[in-house]
């Protein structure tokens, strides 16, 4: 977000709440739309949807400006939207069109917009972790106050890059925030099976950095944790691990039968635990947004997503010569 944010949700302004709610809705509706279009066979390739995890991306990115960087994952649409990527450009990218953010050459797993500090979705699990260190290093060397956020999954926490990155951020006191989206699964394997650690944030203690586990379905909890971490990072106080307990509403990728999910848990996740429903309650209870204003946002977003689809469908595919352009800046 480009406006000044608060460190604690208690002080959230109407303007902020509106931005946050809008972004959460954009993610949800974008993903629902992609899900439907994929089912119809109109979207090619591998697609991993972020629906259900909105509170994480938005709660964190609310504190960031375009100068701050984020690194992302294969499940990157939510991070892109939260970081301010253009919906038309994103959707067109997923459609493989010339008007896509990457001119159709990247696709769902590689959406990026460096001008917005979004350093790219990434098809390689764990790859974003060291990349965040580099953005943090640039901030340190250039003595800016920028921060770098690394979104990564519970599954990625078992990859060596997680530890290499956290250790480097810790010894160099880099302005890097490690945001783990612990949605309980790496593909079809549970976090409990694949990871020996009880909590990923437990590692913070050993690396002697700040760390916490929060309810990742609760926008305000993520917002508060990230707010503190960003302030620490900007003040040169070093990195933080924030583990957000969340859930993905869809399968690992589109096409996944999800036999490994517990039906009750899945039901709870999309009803009482749902991040958007809970944030709606919150803004209403705290008189930030009214029921009517919420509906207005929903409608605005609906129109925006519809427009993104129209834009994409009507956009041309890239020119033939694009196969071999952009391999090098010069060669």
């Amino acid at each position: 977000m480009q406006m000044e944010t608060q460190t604690s949700a208690k002080d959230m302004t109407v303007e902020e709440a509106t931005w946050i709610y809008t972004k959460m809705q954009e993610i949800r509706q974008f993903e629902n739309a992609v899900h439907d279009i994929f089912a119809k066979g109109e979207i090619p390739g591998f697609v991993h949807l972020y629906a259900g995890e909105e509170a994480v991306a938005v709660g964190v990115c609310a504190h960031l400006t375009d100068r701050d960087s984020i690194t992302s994952t294969h499940r990157g649409h939510g991070h892109c939207i939260a970081k301010g990527c253009d919906l038309n450009g994103m959707m067109a990218e997923i459609f493989g069109r010339a008007t896509g953010l990457c001119r159709g050459k990247g696709g769902s797993m590689h959406i990026a917009d460096v001008s917005k500090g979004m350093l790219g979705a990434n098809g390689i699990v764990g790859a974003g972790l060291p990349l965040a260190i580099g953005a943090g290093l640039t901030a340190k060397v250039k003595k800016t106050k920028d921060v770098a956020v690394c979104f990564f999954g519970d599954g990625a926490s078992n990859h060596g890059t997680f530890h290499e990155a956290v250790n480097m951020a810790a010894i160099w006191k880099l302005p890097v925030i490690f945001v783990c989206e612990n949605n309980g699964f790496g593909e079809a394997s549970t976090f409990e099976y694949a990871a020996a650690a009880e909590r990923i944030s437990d590692f913070a203690h050993v690396y002697k950095i700040a760390g916490d586990t929060v309810d990742g379905k609760d926008l305000t909890a993520v917002y508060d944790a990230a707010g503190k971490a960003v302030v620490r990072a900007r003040n040169g106080e070093g990195p933080t691990i924030i583990e957000c307990l969340t859930y993905r509403d869809y399968g690992h990728f589109e096409g996944d039968t999800q036999s490994y999910k517990d039906k009750k848990q899945q039901h709870r996740a999309v009803t009482e635990d749902d991040a958007i429903l809970r944030f709606q309650d919150y803004v209403k209870k705290n008189k930030l947004l009214s029921e009517k204003e919420i509906k207005q946002v929903d409608e605005r977003v609906k129109a925006a997503i519809k427009e993104a689809i129209r834009f994409s469908e009507e956009s041309p595919f890239p020119d033939d010569k694009e196969v071999t352009t952009d391999v090098y800046v010069s060669y």
């Binding site: 591998f46 098809g123 790496g186 079809a188 394997s189 490994y260 890239p318 071999t324």
Partner: protein
């Protein structure tokens, strides 16, 4: 006796036969079963790999021998290497060959070098199964065909089966081979059906297959590009040219003899390879044949490959990116001269 099976089923069949035959054979990788320790899936598994290729294997052999790993390629690949040294015959799945970036050391510096560095005193009977290939709109990090990297490394054997029959036989050879072997599974071939031998059989490494014979042109197709070669051959036949299409089946070892003998007959060679063009298997075969069959060549050896570019996502671009029968024919036309070619 043969039976109709998909490429994917042939893999599943080979793994089961190997595991029945030798209790030291294990299958290890990310979600090769799936659903580990989930009550109702513990015995039956969830996925059987991202494409369901190993589905059901955990049901037959249990979790002790079908091991789901954390997302830690260095970790489990290194584990597979030394499990092989210490008495097992692991089949280790590297989900996509693009992920070799996370575990090249284990393959290149450990598995490939132990036998030599230790003076012949250690064996590494490891099989790595991995998915390669473009054509699936899986974009730059999930569409590569990296077999050249492995062929470059002494100590590794490299198989690139192009059809269900070869897949089964080569995979069984790999599993019972005492050297580390990497077997490439083209993701676009999984659904392809073909006649596969029943029961246990192996196909020796370093034996190419002549898919069709001809006297005017030799086309070597790598992996699924054998099919592109065959399509081009059919089109060329209509033009009156007889192509010999060769599937090398393994790149390391490479059956130079079959290719060279064919070129001695045809005088012309096109290599069709969807991998990157530089320092590739295509340049490798071209260099070897250019050297050893020099006197028999009537035209330069042509390579029909991907351009020197990552794999693009957008479907029309990916299509342009790939070898095609048309590109093969164009190459051939340049070899015989456009005039000769269009005259017929």
């Amino acid at each position: 006796m043969t039976v109709k099976m998909s490429y994917s089923e042939a893999i599943n069949d080979a793994i089961r036969l190997a595991m029945r035959k030798d209790e030291n054979v294990i299958l290890i990788g990310e979600d090769v079963a799936g659903g580990a320790e989930v009550d109702h899936l513990q015995d039956q598994g969830a996925w059987g790999g991202v494409f369901g290729v190993t589905k059901g294997i955990v049901e037959e052999f249990g979790r002790d021998r079908v091991i789901d790993t954390p997302i830690a390629e260095s970790g489990y690949m290194g584990a597979a290497v030394s499990a092989a040294v210490t008495g097992l015959r692991p089949i280790s799945e590297l989900m996509f060959n693009d992920f070799i970036g996370s575990c090249l050391d284990e393959v290149m510096n450990q598995a490939a070098k132990f036998h030599y560095m230790f003076g012949g005193k250690a064996k590494v009977p490891l099989t790595i199964r991995t998915i390669d290939g473009a054509g699936f709109n899986a974009a730059a990090q999930h569409s590569q065909s990296l077999y050249a990297l492995f062929t470059h490394i002494p100590g590794l054997k490299v198989a690139i089966p192009s059809n269900p029959y070869d897949m089964k036989g080569l995979l069984l050879s790999a599993i019972f081979d005492d050297d580390p072997v990497i077997v490439f599974e083209d993701k676009t071939l999984y659904g392809t059906k073909g006649e596969v031998g029943e029961g246990f059989y192996t196909i020796p490494f370093g034996k190419a297959e002549i898919k069709r014979s001809g006297k005017d042109l030799t086309i070597v197709g790598l992996g699924k590009q054998v099919n592109t070669a065959l399509k081009a051959a059919a089109l060329l036949e209509k033009k009156g040219f007889e192509s010999e299409v060769i599937d090398p089946r393994t790149l390391s070892p490479l059956d130079e003899e079959t290719i060279i003998n064919s070129v001695k007959k045809t005088g012309r060679l096109i290599i069709v390879d969807e991998a990157y063009p530089r320092c590739s298997a295509a340049t490798d075969i071209a260099a070897i044949v250019g050297d050893k069959a020099f006197d028999y060549l009537d035209a330069p050896i042509k390579r029909v490959t991907a351009p020197h570019a990552p794999v693009p996502f957008s479907p029309p671009l990916e299509k342009l990116y790939m070898p095609s029968p048309e590109k093969i024919i164009k190459a051939f036309s340049s070899m015989v001269g456009a005039r000769v070619f269009s005259a017929v």
